[in-house]
Subunit: 384 residues, 2 copies
């Protein structure tokens, strides 16, 4: 297996795109390629994630991105896995490059949902659940994650302030991220006063529907002479699955696919959680961040809420979590989210994170979940 | 790169599925795994293609298939590329296995469109084109392929009987295929009397909308002790792209992605067209079969129509083409089609093709196109 690097990265601002998915995807793809000091002709394969392209009447987006880059002959494929689509695409790119099939591969994730109303978007999102057993019976994601939150609360003392601390922290981080959807801080009072969406989850527990596109360039170490940026060495790229429908799971505390992927990732990276400097985790709802920190082995079960309250996961805390603002406040353009996490890690490693820079950037982990954990991708990165 | 085999294969009958995509996909997946002499727990990764899942309100199909197989923990990803989706998925599976990332991988393609009316289905298909420039202006696939047919006719003498010969042959093959959508022969008179859909293409030039699911199991040679069937050795697995919109191409005779993929495939396989015993090619319209035979190097430009008329591509001809009946008559369940071509080659290699058996089965090529050639996959198989 060849040593594989992330050598370039770019994102649109998350929020509302004033252009089509193809335009946004092409634009960030070109930006990421240039960031890597390369040109489109250096790219051997492109991997494009765009779950909800049908809402723009556009499938088969990959060739259009390649057309826009001026390299129509380059093969492209759509790689998707619900909210973990572009981390799944990154995994495919990693396999191609590490396996010696390509020297340079491009991953671009894009989603545009701003042209839909909230109910329609919630409905489309729910297609990622086990539709006939969950969504068709009214269980959309706020309700499903509320179920997970309630199972967690039934087992471990969880105050509203513990969930609120995640929201307050991630908004504070996003306020320092010019690419974030919500660039404003919120107070605990604002959090506690926000309306309940699906008990115990309030408005500020939930990530927004965002538009956005993010791209990263993956290359074999041996193919890159002088990288213009500090590359991320891919120390682990793994995926795992789990029973999709919550009703079919024995244990609703945490996500089994996160636990399995974490085991595989730390084994592949030959690292332990204690050796990771900061994280981007999948906080589609605040409870998801707490579950992730426990599933990934950073905190014992039932203790991540306390850590959030104590500021341990703040930007300047012991273990910074979601310095980008996370899905919660940076935003969640479904198919762009996984690549966007890696863009954030790339910015942090390269001193481009400005006011949201974390203290230590020797290693980082990105954790991206599909739906309620039917899929999970984990990537671990380190410096050369 | 490890020697990689196709070791098991299964298909539903193409036509109308009396079950959901998840059920059909799971059923053929299990059948293909058992055909390989394996169990679900032997599979390290699943690759699922299902472009139009949103019409069933179901995205994120992979984990559901794995749930149904009893291996929810196994990673799964959606891999799509319009009508070449499951051949693209096969390419990903090949890269995983040949690259040493998995020993055994499952590819399953499924589509269910029978619950839509023809206009709706035509509309969804058109999302694979360059939507704002083609489909939105009324250019759906029958019109786009008619444009290609007219460009071909403008350059080379092409009688209606030359296109008709493709239809008559593929119906004759499908009539011997119990899994085919149309199990009836047609005469040249029937062909010539059928209504014009988009001149010069008549009803019998066009493939049907089909439901169906097809699965193949891919494994490293070193992981399989005693294969119960004769495996297909993957001698080439390649993909290529091309400018999507016809208006942006300089040359409308043939598909540039087919030509590029063929060059790459024959180089990778270290074989020439003369060494291939039979083919499954992408005949979504009869003209596409003629273009494919020329793009792939089996016939000089402008001569494949004559060959079809002369019976050279018949089941018992010099070079059997589409013994399954092809997309034209076996059917075209979009995301299942590429895997279905490989199922046919597997059946032929293993003496399971019954009355449609071709004379020589030492080597075979599968050619699968996305849209009007924005993508193309080619696989070349040989015996051990």
């Amino acid at each position: 297996m060849r040593e594989t690097w992330v050598v370039g990265a770019a994102s649109t601002r998350y929020g509302k795109l004033g252009e089509s998915a193809r335009e946004a995807a092409t634009r960030v793809a070109l930006e990421a390629i240039r960031d890597a000091g390369l040109g489109p002709k250096d790219v051997g394969h492109t991997f494009v994630a765009n779950c909800f392209g049908l809402t723009e009447h556009q499938g088969h987006l990959g060739p259009l991105v390649n057309n826009g880059l001026g390299v129509p002959e380059v093969p492209s494929v759509s790689v998707e896995s619900a909210c973990s689509s572009s981390s799944a695409a990154l995994h495919e790119a990693f396999v191609h490059v590490a396996g010696g099939f390509e020297d340079v591969a491009l991953v671009v994730g894009v989603e545009r949902l701003g042209h839909l109303d909230t109910l329609a978007a919630t409905g489309y999102f729910a297609y990622a659940a086990d539709y006939p057993f969950e969504a068709r019976n009214g269980a959309t994601f706020p309700g499903l994650y509320a179920t997970l939150a309630n199972a967690y609360r039934a087992e471990y003392r969880t105050t509203p302030e513990m969930l609120g601390a995640v929201a307050v922290k991630n908004h504070a981080n996003a306020a320092r991220n010019p690419k974030a959807h919500f660039q404003k801080e919120i107070s605990m009072e604002t959090y506690l006063g926000s309306p309940v969406v699906a008990a115990p989850l309030r408005l500020y527990d939930c990530c927004p529907f965002s538009d956005g596109a993010s791209a990263v360039v993956v290359a074999a170490r041996e193919a890159i002479r002088a990288p213009p940026n500090e590359p991320l060495v891919v120390r682990a790229s793994v995926r795992a699955g789990a029973v999709t429908a919550l009703q079919d799971r024995r244990d609703l505390v945490g996500l089994p696919s996160s636990r399995l992927a974490a085991e595989k990732a730390f084994r592949q990276a030959k690292l332990t959680p204690a050796q990771i400097d900061f994280l981007e985790v999948h906080d589609c709802f605040t409870i998801a961040e707490l579950m992730a920190l426990e599933d990934l082995g950073f905190y014992p079960r039932g203790t991540a809420g306390r850590a959030a309250l104590d500021g341990a996961t703040a930007r300047d805390g012991k273990l910074p979590v979601n310095p980008s603002g996370g899905l919660k406040a940076k935003g969640h353009p479904v198919s762009a989210t996984g690549a966007g996490q890696v863009v954030e890690i790339f910015e942090q490693f390269n001193g481009r994170a400005g006011k949201r820079a974390v203290p230590r950037t020797g290693t980082a982990l990105a954790h991206n979940v599909g739906a309620t954990g039917g899929s999970c991708s984990i990537h671990i990165f380190a410096r050369r």
